[in-house]
């Protein structure tokens, strides 16, 4: 059985809930009180992950930290079709790794801005936002050119990869850090496509794809 050490409002934890839902994997959740309890810095949790970071996944005694690493593990072990992380395609693997690192950069800018605005973390908010916009500009251009080649996803191929999952949460949550996606139409079309992948689930702050969602007044 798989156990996920999880916090609902964490986008990095959401990556794994999302991916396990898409792969139709059953798992248990151990909720970690990130705020206000700071349980990720507690003694019991530091024994599981000395970095004091979420998420952590345990699969029959095998413990792994870092959302991107866990995505690689889950895809390699549980995606029978080998589409999310095609281990037989060196170029695609390189491409995926490049975008997993890019996802980490999105975390350190867009997620940091969200933590600043929502939970009052002491970050340089202007630097976080500027950094996120720089990345989104690059990302939007990449996706625009991909669309011109009739590609729907970040990496070449007709199936999404774990790069799409890794990049999605802190892009879709960016407005909570005051980072608008208004100027990134290709990003907006891509987030809509991700929302239509079978098995897609939401988290607090993320809404399902249309039928056009009507905001409450």
């Amino acid at each position: 059985m798989i156990t996920l050490y999880d916090y609902e409002l964490s986008g990095n934890c959401y990556k794994l809930r999302l991916f396990m839902s898409m792969l139709d994997i059953e798992y248990e959740v151990i909720a970690v009180d990130f705020y206000p309890g700071k349980e990720h810095k507690s003694e019991w949790f530091l024994e599981i992950n000395p970095l004091g970071q979420l998420p952590v996944l345990e699969d029959n005694g095998f413990v792994l930290r870092d959302a991107q690493a866990i995505l690689i593990y889950l895809a390699s072990k549980y995606d029978a079709g080998g589409k999310w992380y095609p281990t037989d395609q060196p170029q695609t693997l390189g491409d995926i790794s490049q975008w997993l690192a890019f996802a980490d950069s999105i975390t350190s800018t867009s997620s940091a801005a969200r933590l600043h605005d929502g939970l009052f973390y002491d970050f340089d908010i202007e630097a976080c936002r500027a950094g996120a916009h720089r990345l989104f500009r690059i990302f939007d251009e990449h996706l625009w050119f991909a669309e011109k080649q009739n590609r729907n996803w970040i990496c070449p191929g007709d199936h999404p990869t774990i790069a799409d999952i890794a990049c999605f949460p802190y892009v879709i949550l960016s407005e909570e850090g005051g980072i608008s996606r208004q100027d990134y139409p290709a990003i907006r079309r891509w987030t809509d496509r991700v929302k239509r992948i079978p098995g897609f689930v939401v988290m607090s702050g993320v809404f399902p794809a249309g039928p056009a969602f009507k905001a409450a007044g």
Binding site: E8, L9, A31, D33, Y35, P36, G37, E39, D117, G118, L119, F120, E175, E176, G178, M203, S204, G205, F207, F213, K214, A215, A216, G217
Partner: protein
């Protein structure tokens, strides 16, 4: 000189931080009504709040109520409004979260009062289609307490709280005893004669940003604090993007400004009440 020129707003008490999240003697900085403040709570639980922007060092009134440090930047008069349930011995009282939201305080209060969004925003928790109808309820302004009271509110909820065993028709009572605070009572899943209390105490950082303090006073012997809190954080996390996408961010008080839908009876009353009080902070006042 205070930045906020709205005397009614300036003279209110505001929660600025949960006492259980403050280490004794440690100084915390915050902003209220565009004024920089610092606060501490000593080992005996006594608070101290002082200005750190203009008139730096000047002490301002403070008190600890409902698990928070409260302060007032104008002329403090009277007490913080009463929540008698808070002192009942078998209740679990806690701060579910203090979360920053990019919205005006009145917009956030209005959303809190609106049951119509439950099935769409809190799908499968506080509401579910096709149970979307907001049934007839009563709203009045209590002259005696100068507060809004909405009663007989009922809504079908698949999972009303962490202690719920399943879907049920849930009864709500809303109070708005302060321009930027609301207290919600909802049927307790464990005691059919009593109600759980969920209060939001909004701290206006400026006219379009708030810190929302969410206080719970619930009857629940089975779930731990963590899961009770996480349930409310999940709910609040769903409201956040709705709040932050409100346009304009300030609440228009002109009755013709936005066409309220039929469910918005309490919203209309709230807007009128703010107008009558002459509130200008965080709103777009009606043209004279």
């Amino acid at each position: 000189m205070a930045v906020c020129s709205d005397k009614t707003v300036l003279n209110q008490w505001y929660a600025i931080g949960a006492t259980e999240e403050i280490e004794p003697e440690r100084m915390t900085e915050t902003v209220l009504l565009e004024e920089e403040l610092s606060y501490t709570v000593d080992a005996l639980g006594s608070p101290k709040v002082w200005r750190t922007g203009h008139d730096a060092g000047e002490l301002v009134p403070s008190q600890c109520v409902y698990g928070y440090v409260w302060t007032c930047l104008g002329e403090a008069s009277g007490e913080v409004f009463a929540i008698p349930e808070f002192s009942e011995p078998d209740r679990r009282n806690m701060n579910a979260a203090t979360i920053g939201v990019n919205v005006s305080a009145p917009r956030a209060i209005e959303n809190f009062l609106d049951m119509g969004h439950f099935p769409y925003v809190h799908t499968d928790i506080l509401g579910v289609e096709p149970h979307t109808e907001v049934k007839e309820y009563d709203v009045e302004i209590s002259i005696e307490n100068d507060e809004i009271l909405a009663t007989r509110c009922r809504f079908f909820q698949p999972m009303a709280s962490q202690a719920s065993g399943g879907g049920a028709d849930v009864e709500y009572i809303y109070r708005v005893p302060h321009p930027f605070c609301s207290v919600l009572y909802k049927s307790s899943p464990v005691d059919d004669k009593r109600m759980d209390v969920i209060a939001v105490f909004l701290q206006p950082v400026d006219q379009e940003h708030i810190r929302a303090h969410m206080m719970l006073s619930v009857l629940d012997e089975d779930n731990d604090d963590k899961s009770i809190r996480l349930f409310q954080q999940t709910i609040f996390g769903q409201d956040k993007p709705i709040l932050e996408n409100q346009f304009p961010k300030r609440l228009p008080l002109d009755p013709r400004a936005e066409t309220p839908i039929r469910a918005d009876k309490s919203a209309i009353t709230y807007r009128r009440w703010l107008s009558r009080k002459g509130i200008t902070y965080g709103v777009i006042p009606a043209a004279a």
